[in-house]
Symmetry: C2
Subunit: 325 residues, 2 copies
């Protein structure tokens, strides 16, 4: 298994698919007006779900992606599947179940939005032959806290992680723990920690770290993730950039954002840029830089999904051939 | 207990409240464009839930109403409670629970819309002291198939029906059975029939009757409801009006609608007009006529909730002083 030396390239075997995201594929219903708590009359429907956004972005950046997810047998499920197809992403691993497609209602807010969650089809994701086949043929597997927050999807992720380890795939995990999506009456924090132990790469925000470990300095938070077993920890600090450590080397990244129009999906943009770069043979350090460049590019536009160019175009745009940090 | 003679008035005891509706209070998210299956981009948020619409309408028609329902501790729940308050309806029986406020996404359609149901807070309605007090002080209790379609709300309705019978309240039940809202793997039809047996007044549509009993003539469908134990059966036939029977007398009503702009909420408008008239001392026959007049009035406007005048104004508008059928 890769040890994520910052100036090394990860040698990936020759497989049919680069990145497989497993988890939420859902509709975001976002208010057209800014409001504090869902006073809005008008809402607009968007493709959503963090891992699905990552797959869509990474595909645009020029790598091969697959989405494993569960949607309802309804108009919203059809809308999401159509969007994946139009982006050239295979949908063999999208399962249709007899439960409404999951929905998140979001108030557009100048402070922190308060989403209302409608968990439906998403957490009914099962482990089946199509998912296993996709796993065997993928080099990177990615998921967030959504599918592990409820059974039966949690059991599916447990089998996904087991299979991914057996087949030498890199496991990326977004420890975006929030009690609001967690199964009631259960200690989500302990479970998320057990999952960090199994992951290769984690990208917590400072808020994520605080919800998991309490308040502490960035350096000490990173230590806690490493101690649990994560091999590469990317702690994002909002406008202050990020700190990354593999336990031996630690580097800081300033933000590359020059213009911030909308922060929605900036984290997903990072993941997709970082993964795409790893797949394309850049070093970890270069891949991190490219991830932050893609994120900065996304920040200039509204919405979680923006019209990304190929990774190399963004690399040129941010002058990344000369200077890598 | 009243036997619903068509030319009789129901003598109601002197109680603090006229109509208590128990059940769904939720947000309807309706597409702004006509579409076949949720292709729409834009949606608008409305106050919804059939019994809650009935309470709001009946209040406008000039009688006292209360709503017993369960909403989430979120912006949508707050929006619904505010709407009730603004209409002058007490909200002591609206329970707030740690589950998202129920939501129905509806595509505006020229044929039959295909709603997507997000059942959340609504079916967590519990039987508590406030609900019992409201029951003891109400003359009419109304509910639909929603709360009986899932536990724990079903158990609450069972206690409501028991208490209502003990206290001599009239029980109105909308047998709007649909497998899509029913708890999976359970025979909803059998349960709905057991509830019809306990109700005084039921208002099935022809589609409801068919889902419960299979296809048959209107006269024979009415017989089946009466045989189960309902005392007054109002079978609606869309543009062909309605047939009403108490087992001894049967009458037909032609539609009073002259202009049909939007059929949404026409049934709820009927219920509210009928109940308001019963409360105001009209005979059953007169109350039915007034119900159909209120429904015809509603059909002229868009939306489930329209700005109804007092019942007497609608009575005059439709010339109901001379001719009662």
């Amino acid at each position: 298994m890769a040890h994520f030396g910052l100036d090394e390239r990860i040698m990936l075997p020759n497989r049919r698919n680069d990145i497989l995201t497993v988890g939420e594929l859902l509709v975001d219903m976002i208010s057209t007006d800014y409001d504090a708590d869902h006073e809005s009359f008008q809402y607009q429907k968007f493709f959503g779900g963090s891992p699905s956004n990552i797959a869509l972005n990474a595909r645009k950046l020029g790598v091969r992606t697959l989405v494993a997810a569960s949607v309802g047998e309804d108009g919203f499920g059809k809308f999401l599947i159509d969007r994946l197809r139009n982006a050239g992403i295979g949908t063999d691993c999208v399962q249709a179940v007899d439960v409404s497609t999951s929905l998140v209602v979001v108030n557009k807010s100048q402070s922190t939005p308060i989403p209302i969650f409608y968990r439906g089809a998403d957490y009914h994701l099962g482990y089946n032959a199509q998912l296993e086949e996709a796993l065997f043929n993928s080099n990177i597997v990615h998921f967030s806290c959504w599918p592990i927050s409820k059974v039966p999807a949690r059991h599916t992720i447990e089998r996904v992680v087991e299979s991914a380890k057996k087949h030498g795939a890199i496991i990326g995990f977004d420890p975006n723990y929030h009690p609001m999506i967690w199964q009631r009456g259960e200690d989500g924090v302990a479970y998320v920690k057990s999952m960090i132990a199994k992951a290769d790469i984690v990208k917590p925000s400072e808020d994520d770290a605080e919800r998991l470990f309490g308040q502490d300095t960035p350096a000490r938070q990173i230590e806690k993730f490493l101690k649990l077993g994560a091999k590469l920890v990317i702690l994002t600090l909002g406008k202050d950039g990020a700190i990354v450590s593999n336990g031996k080397e630690t580097i800081s990244f300033g933000t590359r954002a020059t213009e911030v129009v909308d922060t929605t999906g900036a984290g997903d943009a990072f993941w997709s840029g970082f993964y795409a770069a790893v797949v394309k043979g850049y070093t970890i350090r270069e891949s991190l830089s490219l991830g932050f460049a893609v994120s900065a590019y996304k920040l200039r536009f509204t919405g979680a999904i923006v019209d990304l160019p190929e990774l190399e175009a963004i690399k040129d745009m941010y002058g990344l051939q000369e200077e890598w940090i």
